[in-house]
């Protein structure tokens, strides 16, 4: 019996796979969702701060949210490992699964670098803009999460459907970013118009 087969057929896996209890497989899936929410949510907030949103937010207290992110990461890894074991032969044969792992690795590595470059230094962890390198890392984190979530979800579908979904995600993301950009600009220009013209000092 191969190792993959053993992983799927030991008594824990069988219970998790076959038990009708909601505390077996369904709760494992829910834990994977909690982990994702805290991991992706917290790191996204940190990345947005790096990219220039809320520039007045002090970095030192923001750094205190890193443990929340790592807690989410731990929950994701533990629940994800169990979910993998349950269908090891299935997942390990899917390219999308490796793309997901790679994207997570890039995001996690970027967050660790961000911590080292921006947050670990207590003296400079004040307010204001961050180095260009930190902005690139933050961009890498956001792109990686969209890739990881997309690749993770399409493991439930046939490859051709997954590919089409990936294209749809790409187009929707670009439309949302472009649309958001235009909406923010319009909103700002109407606000300036109400206040009597756009400020000239910014040019």
């Amino acid at each position: 019996m191969g190792i993959l087969e053993f992983l799927e057929t030991n008594s824990l896996s069988i219970w998790l796979n076959e038990s009708p209890s909601i505390f077996a497989y369904p709760t494992l899936l829910a834990l994977h969702t909690f982990g994702m929410a805290f991991l992706v949510g917290t790191s996204t907030a940190i990345a947005l701060r790096m990219l220039g949103f809320v520039p007045g937010m002090p970095l030192a207290p923001l750094g205190k949210f890193f443990p929340i992110m790592w807690l989410g990461f731990s929950i994701s890894v533990v629940s994800g490992t169990l979910l993998l074991i349950l269908q090891a032969r299935n997942f390990l044969a899917m390219p999308a699964f490796y793309i997901k792992l790679l994207a997570i690795a890039v995001a996690v590595r970027s967050m660790r670098l961000l911590w080292a470059r921006v947050f670990s230094d207590r003296v400079s962890a004040g307010t204001g803009l961050v180095p260009r390198e930190a902005q690139v890392l933050a961009g890498a984190v956001l792109i990686s999460w969209v890739v990881a979530i997309t690749a993770g979800r399409v493991t439930a579908y046939i490859p051709s459907q997954g590919l089409k979904t990936a294209v749809a995600v790409l187009i929707s993301t670009l439309v949302l970013i472009g649309g958001g950009h235009i909406a923010v600009r319009l909103w700002r220009s109407t606000k300036w118009a109400q206040q009597g013209g756009a400020p000239t000092s910014t040019h």
Binding site: T33, F38, T42, S43, T44, M57, P61, R153, A168
Partner: protein, 172 residues
């Protein structure tokens, strides 16, 4: 009236959109997950700060992140309504039947409304204004802490029962 509800619950526009595009259902799921992460991330950080975590963070700064949470909320609500009104495409069951038979969906909706009432109470009791200018090191009033804790609990419950919806009936 009943005919209207039957029609709007199984809304042909949504069902046809799913039927016509193989990428539509998984795209909807991905958008739901991204929205959920934005919502839980920003609201969770705000609630944790009110509860006393990372107390040197001014509350006003975290509040400036909340529009991203609102965007996440719009994403999950729109995609969630699309799952419901287009469910027939996925499992060939009338949405009305799912609503009256799936206990997890009902529990999720209950906690979703409780989270909404909680948010309403946060504004109505003046707690929103009271915490608005909390600076570094300042403690939120006890009522604000209670509401923040309730908010975290309700949203986690929404996520939990939401993930259980495909498993339908209760099996404890």
């Amino acid at each position: 009236m009943e005919a209207f509800f039957t029609y709007i619950l199984r809304w042909p526009i949504v069902e046809n959109y799913f039927t016509a595009n193989v990428w539509a259902w998984p795209l909807n799921e991905i958008a739901h997950f991204i929205g959920l992460s934005l919502l839980i991330g920003t609201v969770g950080m705000y609630d944790l700060r009110l509860l006393g975590f990372a107390k040197d963070m001014p509350v006003a700064c975290l509040r400036q992140l909340l529009p991203w949470g609102v965007f996440g909320f719009i994403l999950v609500t729109v995609t969630g309504l699309m799952f419901t009104t287009g469910i027939y495409y996925n499992i060939a069951v009338e949405p009305g039947e799912v609503l009256i038979s799936d206990g997890f969906l009902q529990l999720k909706l209950i906690f979703y409304f409780l989270a909404g009432i909680n948010l309403f109470a946060f504004y109505r009791t003046g707690m929103s204004r009271a915490v608005g200018d909390l600076g570094p090191g300042e403690d939120a009033p006890p009522l604000a802490k209670t509401l923040a804790g309730a908010s975290l609990f309700f949203w986690i419950a929404v996520m939990y029962f939401g993930r259980l919806i495909p498993f339908g009936q209760l099996h404890l």
